[in-house]
Amino acid sequence: MSNRIAEGFTMSEYFRDIGSSITTIMTGMGITLRHFFNAVKRKGGAGIDEDNYFKQVDGLATLQYPREAIPTPETGRYRLYCDINDCIGCKQCERACPIDCITIETIKVTKDDLGVCGKTSGGQQKKFWVPVFDIDIAQCMTCGICAAVCPTECLYHTQVSDFSEFRRENMIYHFGNLTKLEAEAKEKKLEEEKKAAPKPKPKPAPKAQPAEGG
């Protein structure tokens, strides 16, 4: 560059350089000044899915975050939420998750409890208690693969995008529908049922979860 100046450096080029510098600098300064005087206007807070999004005034673009925020569109895919009432304990999401941030433990529902366990909103009979349905939301990368495989659409991403916590433990969300004591009771019940009816039982024991998970 410096060589280029040194080599082909004529007087006319010298003055042309100065001239173009001045004009382009003036153009640039004109643009910034226009923005400076435009600063009396502020862009509104319309979301991208609203019709007037690009019709908002062309002014200051900042939104002051905690008080104002860009609205999340309906399709927004942020915090993972499980509607446990609809969960049938199929563990497909657990298998599909590329980073294994979902942990599920299930207990098979005993026959007499089927009614108590109830049905999903789609009318499907639930066959498993889900005492543990933990999502480590700190690990979750909101890829949406789990939501895509969920057969009852009970696992989905909500629009809540800001859910920071001061403690890491609080980032593990528990969705299980049984307390620990209840889970123990249900397990005992299942054991009793098994003992009572040691008939053909090809299904794997629901407790043997790690083996199945692999």
Partner: protein, 400 residues
């Protein structure tokens, strides 16, 4: 230490002056100084480290050190199934996730040999071109900030915000979309997306002109970039450069034309190559110009996509997604034009497993950066910054 002593000795000149007196003169010759640029440096765009040998302001040699952002993508890809790789692909070049997804999906689909619905193809091209503009805006903005102009950077980010909004609306996420899936896309475009995109195009055109006036045409900017970091076309090819970098060297080579993947053959757009009037072909300014021109071409492509996109009646974006992705044994090299160049995936399948046996990402930034050592020789430190900026690296893709 030894070297120091040697150089000191050589820089002393001893001249006898008679009567047993000598005149000792010390040369002004200076030693090289090793200057560590990065990994925490404002202009290395992340965590690149350059070990520069400098002589005053002149960089004699700059050796790049990578790996500070190495996240074992290739190892990880071998442990998750094919669709599970997509979120990781997103995170490689995090400024152009859609384009990354497209490249990966093209590779896997080539292996699977499935046909993609036409509307899906258009959606894919549409979102990846939107993302290309977003990525180029970051490239141009950060380049401006590297050269000391702060305002264009913020203008770029202001406009990128709209693009991120559009892509968030379509895919659900602002940056790491996981939208393009193997065999389809995650969701159909939301209602009103097409109109909003049209509005964006008409909104963005004047902004691009303003940006050009503010930055590209500025004499100081031109002076800083013109003739800096020259790369002749043949050397660029030998270095495996691709994308805007290669086109900046005057080679008319664009995978969208060469490979003609997806619906690009049906679309009318030109490959941007600098004409050499405003810049010297192969310099940093040319590369910047290519990016600026490509934004305009992308707008054209977007408009055509919006016009030509088939209707949504009875359209299921996931229709062609195979239930269980287990390709036949074989290997494939699939690639697509990323905003930074050729992003290729070499995928090896053993035909048994649902996860790839080997998934190598041929990252465009990695390859483009490999010429850094040669480009930096004998440049001034400010030029070094200008060159790094013109390569437009994303360390997430360099280190993977």
């Amino acid at each position: 230490m030894q070297e120091l002593g040697k150089s000191e000795q050589s820089s002393l000149r001893v001249t006898p002056q008679g009567k047993g007196r000598v005149l000792i003169e010390k040369d002004l010759s200076s030693e090289e100084m090793v200057l560590n640029m990065g990994p925490q440096h404002p202009s290395t765009h992340g965590v690149l480290r350059l070990e520069c040998k400098t002589d005053g302001e002149v960089v004699i040699e700059a050796e790049p050190y990578l790996g500070y952002l190495h996240r074992c993508f290739e190892k990880y890809a071998e442990t998750v199934d094919y669709p599970g790789v997509v979120p990781f692909v997103d995170r490689m070049d995090y400024l152009a996730s859609m384009n990354n997804d497209l490249a990966y999906c093209i590779a896997v689909e080539k292996l699977l040999d499935i046909e993609i619905p036409r509307r899906v193809e258009f959606i894919r091209v549409l979102v990846s071109e939107l993302n290309r503009i977003a990525s180029h805006l970051v490239a141009i903005g950060t380049y401006a900030i590297d050269l000391g102009a702060f305002t264009p950077f913020l203008f770029c980010f202001r406009d990128r915000e709209h693009l991120l909004g559009l892509l968030e609306w379509a895919s659900g996420a602002r940056m790491l979309y996981n939208y393009i899936l193997i065999g389809g896309v995650a969701e159909d475009l939301p209602k009103g997306f097409i109109e909003r995109t049209r509005e964006f195009v008409s909104y963005f055109r004047p902004k691009a002109v303003e940006l050009q006036k503010l930055l590209t045409e500025n004499e100081i900017f031109v002076k800083r970039t013109r003739g800096v970091g020259m790369m002749p076309a043949d050397v660029a090819i030998n270095y495996g450069w691709s994308g805007p970098m290669l086109r900046g060297s005057g080679v008319e080579w664009d995978l969208r034309k060469i490979d003609g993947y997806s619906v690009y053959p049906e679309l009318d757009f030109s490959v941007c190559v600098p004409d050499g009037k405003f810049s010297d072909i192969g310099d940093s300014l040319s590369r910047h110009l290519v990016r600026a021109m490509e934004m305009e071409e992308s707008l054209k492509i977007i408009e055509q996509c919006l016009d030509m996109m088939p209707g949504e009646e009875g359209f299921n974006p996931r229709a062609a997604i195979p239930k269980r992705i287990r390709p036949k044994a074989g290997e494939v090299y699939g690639r697509a034009e990323n905003p930074r160049g050729e992003l290729g995936f070499y995928i090896q399948s053993d035909g048994k497993s649902t996860s790839p046996l080997r998934c190598k990402a041929r990252s465009s930034c990695f390859v483009n950066l490999s010429a850094m050592k040669e480009l930096s020789m004998g440049q001034l430190i400010p030029d070094l910054v200008a060159i790094i900026g013109s390569i437009d690296i994303v360390l997430g893709e360099v280190d993977r």
